[in-house]
C-alpha cells in the first residue's frame, strides 16, 4: 500500500504539467466502480431519543427518534431504576408513509389523543398521528413548516401551536389543526425579540405566555450578502448585518406576540448556567421554568418570573443522574415528575420534580440494552479526515 501510494503521488504530480482544465473527455468513457460494498460502517441500529412529551391523562410518554426516524410511545410507568433490559414500547410509528425524518420536538393532545412531531433539518414538515397509530401509517395531517424547525408547543384554549425555527431566529404560530400548505397566523422574528437559534419552546396557558430556549447563535439576516467593513447605515436599530454569538437565554413573550417584539423577560448571563439549552417546560402550578442543558448534562429550574442574570433555584446534575447529552424535557405536574430524553445513551429518565443535585432517576426507559454504545450522529451532513491522527471527524 505504501509503495502504491508513493507511485500515485509521483505520477499525479506529472499529470498536472500537461493537462489544461476544461478539456473534453473522450466520448467513450465507461464509468468504473458501481455497486461496491462498504468495508466498514458506523450505524446505530437502535432508536435515539430526542424530544419527549408526557400525557398524564392517558398515562403515556412519547419520544421522537431521529436515528431510526420514528416515534415511540411507552406506558408512563414503564421501565425501572435498575433494569438493564430494553423497555418494550406500547407502539412505534416508523416507515416512509409516516413522513418521520430527522425528527425533533413532540407534543401530545390528550383530549384528541393525537401526537404532533416536527422534522428538523431536511423534511420541513410537522406531522400529526393518532396516539394509537402503529407502524408505517400516513399522518392525519402533514403541515409544511420553515426549514430547521425544532420545538413544538400548543395552547388548547387558543387552538394554536407554536414552532421554533433555529436558523431563522423565529417562532411561527399556526392554527392547531393546520394542515398542508397553510400560512402561519403570525410569526416572531427580528433583532429585538432576543430569539437566537431557538430550540425548546413551551406555552404557559395559565399565564398566556410562550417561553423559548435560545442557544445564542444569531444570523445577520438582513441581506443576501454581508454589509462589508463600512455598514451603509450605522444605526443601532437597523437590522443586524453580521452574525453574533449572544449568551444563551430563556426568553418569555405574551402568547399574542408577533413581529420584532421584545421579550417580557429574559434569563441570560453567566449566573444562569445555561449551556446549549434544549427542551424547555413551564410549570404554572409551581411557578417554575425548567430546561435541559445539553452542554453540561443537567436540568435547571428557575422561578417562572425570573429575569436577568439569575442562578437556577435548583439543578439536577451529576454522575448518579445518568443525564447524558439531554435533548428533551417534560414536566408531569399530576404525578410530580420531570422527564429527560437523553441523546447519548439510549435512555429516558423520570425524576421526582423536586429532585436537586446528584440524584438518581426513579425510572429509566431504555430503547436498547444497558451499555449499548451510541455513535451520537444527528443527521451527519459533513465529514473530514485528520491524516495525522488517522481519525474521521463527523459534525452534527
Amino acid at each position: 500500500m505504501i509503495q502504491r501510494t508513493l507511485l500515485v503521488l509521483l505520477l499525479g504530480a506529472a499529470i498536472v504539467v500537461f493537462v489544461l482544465p476544461g478539456q473534453k473527455p473522450s466520448a467513450d468513457r465507461v464509468t468504473k466502480g458501481g455497486a461496491i460494498m462498504p468495508v466498514r460502517s458506523i450505524v446505530d441500529p437502535y432508536p435515539v431519543f430526542n424530544g419527549i412529551a408526557v400525557d398524564s391523562d392517558n398515562n403515556i410518554v412519547a419520544m421522537t427518534d431521529g436515528n431510526r426516524k420514528s416515534l415511540l410511545i411507552y406506558d408512563r410507568t414503564a421501565g425501572s431504576a435498575d433494569s438493564e433490559e430494553e423497555t418494550k414500547p406500547l407502539r412505534q410509528m416508523i416507515g416512509p408513509e409516516t413522513n418521520i425524518g430527522f425528527v425533533a420536538g413532540i407534543m401530545i393532545d390528550p383530549k384528541k389523543r393525537e401526537v404532533f412531531a416536527v422534522n428538523n433539518d431536511i423534511e420541513d414538515t410537522m406531522l400529526v398521528l393518532p396516539c394509537e397509530a402503529k407502524g408505517n401509517v400516513r399522518p392525519s395531517r402533514l403541515l409544511s413548516v420553515p426549514h430547521q424547525a425544532w420545538g413544538l408547543a400548543y395552547s388548547p384554549a387558543r387552538k394554536e401551536m407554536a414552532v421554533s425555527v433555529e436558523m431563522h431566529n423565529g417562532i411561527v404560530i399556526y392554527k392547531l389543526d393546520a394542515d398542508g400548505v397553510e400560512a402561519p397566523l403570525r410569526a416572531m422574528q427580528g433583532p429585538h425579540t432576543g430569539l437566537a437559534d431557538p430550540h425548546g419552546i413551551a406555552w404557559d396557558e395559565t399565564h398566556n405566555e410562550i417561553a423559548v430556549a435560545n442557544h445564542g447563535n444569531f444570523r445577520g439576516l438582513a441581506k443576501n450578502m454581508g454589509s462589508g467593513c463600512v455598514p451603509s447605515i450605522p444605526i443601532a436599530d437597523e437590522e443586524s448585518e453580521a452574525g453574533q454569538f449572544q449568551p444563551p437565554s430563556i426568553t418569555v413573550y405574551p402568547a399574542t406576540a408577533k413581529g420584532d417584539q421584545k421579550p417580557s423577560r429574559a434569563i441570560q448571563g453567566s449566573k444562569t448556567q445555561l449551556d446549549w439549552p434544549m427542551g424547555l417546560a413551564v410549570d404554572p402550578v409551581h411557578n417554575e421554568i425548567a430546561v435541559v442543558n445539553n452542554g453540561d448534562n443537567s436540568v435547571l429550574f428557575y422561578r417562572r418570573m425570573a429575569s436577568g442574570d439569575v442562578a437556577p433555584v435548583r439543578a439536577i446534575r451529576g454522575p448518579r443522574t445518568r443525564i447524558s447529552r439531554p435533548m428533551g424535557l417534560a414536566i408531569d405536574t399530576k404525578n410530580d415528575e420531570v422527564w429527560v430524553a437523553n441523546f447519548a445513551d439510549h435512555t429516558a429518565l423520570a425524576f421526582n420534580r423536586t429532585d436537586n443535585g446528584d440524584q438518581a432517576p426513579k425510572r429509566i426507559i431504555r430503547n436498547a440494552p444497558a451499555g449499548t454504545p451510541s455513535a451520537g450522529f444527528g443527521n451527519p451532513m459533513a465529514m473530514a479526515y485528520d491524516s495525522k491522527r488517522e481519525e474521521i471527524l463527523v459534525p452534527n
Binding site: V19, T31, I42, H215, N217, Q244, W276, M381
Partner: protein, 282 residues
C-alpha cells in the same frame, strides 16, 4: 475506521465551542494541525486545534461585517496556498480567507454575482496543481480559476443527465486532479423564505430522502467539462448508500468515507484504484 455501533473517541460540544448544531462542512488543516468548522447560524468560521475535546473554545473566529459572511455553509482547506475556502448558500458566494485569518477581517477573495452561476453552494475544493477551484453547485459542479475574484464566469461546468448529478450535490473533495463528489440527489423544496411562505406551491413536498433516484459517490477529472459521466462511481443497493452527503478521503490507504443522512451513519469504501493516476482522456 471504527466498525459497528461505537461511541466517538472524542466529542467537541458545549457553549464554549461556539459550535452550532447545524454543521454542513468541515476541513482539516494538516499544516497547522487544525480543524475548520463553519457556524452558519452565527455567520462565523471557527478554527480549533485538531486534538480539541469537550467544551473547548476555538483558537480563532472569523466573524463580523468585514467578513461579509452570510450563512457560511461549508468549508475547505487549500494546504498549498494556505487558504480557507467558504461556501455560502444564502449568499450564493465563495469566500477565501488566509489560514491564519482571525476576527472581523475582509476575505482575500470573494466570488459572487450572476456571472458566477453560484446558487446552492456546498462542497468545494482546490486543485493547486491545476490552480482551479471546484464547487458543488445547485445541480452541477462549477470550475473556476483558483484566484478568480468578484463576478466571474466559471471556466467549466460538469452538468447534465450523463453526470447523474441531480438536486443539491453536497460535499466535494479534490485530490490529484480528480473531483470526488457526494451526489446526494435528494429533492429539497423549501416553501418558506425565512418564516414567510413563498406562495410557490399548495402541496407539501415529498420527503427529499424518498427520491427514488438514489445518490452516489462520483469521481470526475478536474479537466472535465459538460455532460460527462463520472470516471468512477459508488452507488446502488450493495453500496448501502441512499443519499450520501458527507465525504472525506484517505488517499494513503485508498479509502473513501461517506456519511448518509438517511442511514444516520458513516460508511467506509476501499477503492485504491480511484486514487491512482488516470488517463486524462478518459
Amino acid at each position: 475506521m471504527a466498525n459497528g455501533n461505537v461511541t466517538a473517541k472524542r466529542v467537541l460540544a458545549g457553549q464554549a465551542t461556539k459550535l452550532g448544531r447545524t454543521v454542513h462542512g468541515m476541513a482539516y488543516n494538516p499544516v497547522r494541525d487544525e480543524i475548520i468548522v463553519p457556524n452558519p447560524l452565527s455567520d462565523a468560521i471557527l478554527v480549533f486545534r485538531a486534538g480539541a475535546s469537550g467544551d473547548e473554545a476555538p483558537l480563532r473566529i472569523i466573524q463580523g461585517p468585514c467578513t461579509q459572511l452570510v450563512t457560511p455553509h461549508a468549508v475547505s482547506f487549500d494546504p498549498v496556498n494556505q487558504e480557507i475556502l467558504v461556501a455560502s448558500l444564502t449568499g450564493k458566494a465563495v469566500y477565501v480567507f488566509p489560514a491564519t485569518a482571525n476576527g472581523n477581517v475582509a476575505p482575500a477573495r470573494l466570488l459572487h454575482g450572476p456571472k458566477t452561476k453560484l446558487g446552492h453552494v456546498v462542497g468545494l475544493g482546490v486543485d493547486p496543481a491545476h490552480n482551479v477551484l471546484a464547487v458543488a453547485n445547485s445541480k452541477d459542479v462549477l470550475i473556476f480559476n483558483r484566484t478568480d475574484n468578484g463576478d466571474v464566469a466559471p471556466r467549466a461546468a460538469i452538468a447534465g443527465p450523463k453526470t447523474g448529478i441531480e438536486d443539491e450535490p453536497w460535499e466535494l473533495e479534490v485530490y490529484k486532479g480528480k473531483i470526488f463528489l457526494a451526489a446526494s440527489n435528494h429533492l429539497h423544496q423549501n416553501l418558506y423564505s425565512g418564516v414567510t411562505q413563498k406562495g410557490i406551491s399548495n402541496k407539501v413536498p415529498e420527503d427529499p430522502w424518498l427520491n427514488p433516484d438514489l445518490g452516489f459517490i462520483g469521481v470526475w477529472l478536474i479537466t472535465d467539462n459538460g455532460d460527462v459521466p463520472p470516471l468512477y462511481k459508488i452507488g446502488g443497493p450493495f453500496s448501502g448508500l441512499l443519499h450520501p452527503v458527507g465525504l472525506a478521503l484517505n488517499p494513503k490507504d485508498g479509502e473513501i468515507y461517506v456519511s448518509d443522512s438517511v442511514r444516520n451513519g458513516v460508511l467506509e469504501f476501499l477503492t485504491p484504484d480511484f486514487f491512482e493516476q488516470s488517463n486524462t482522456k478518459n
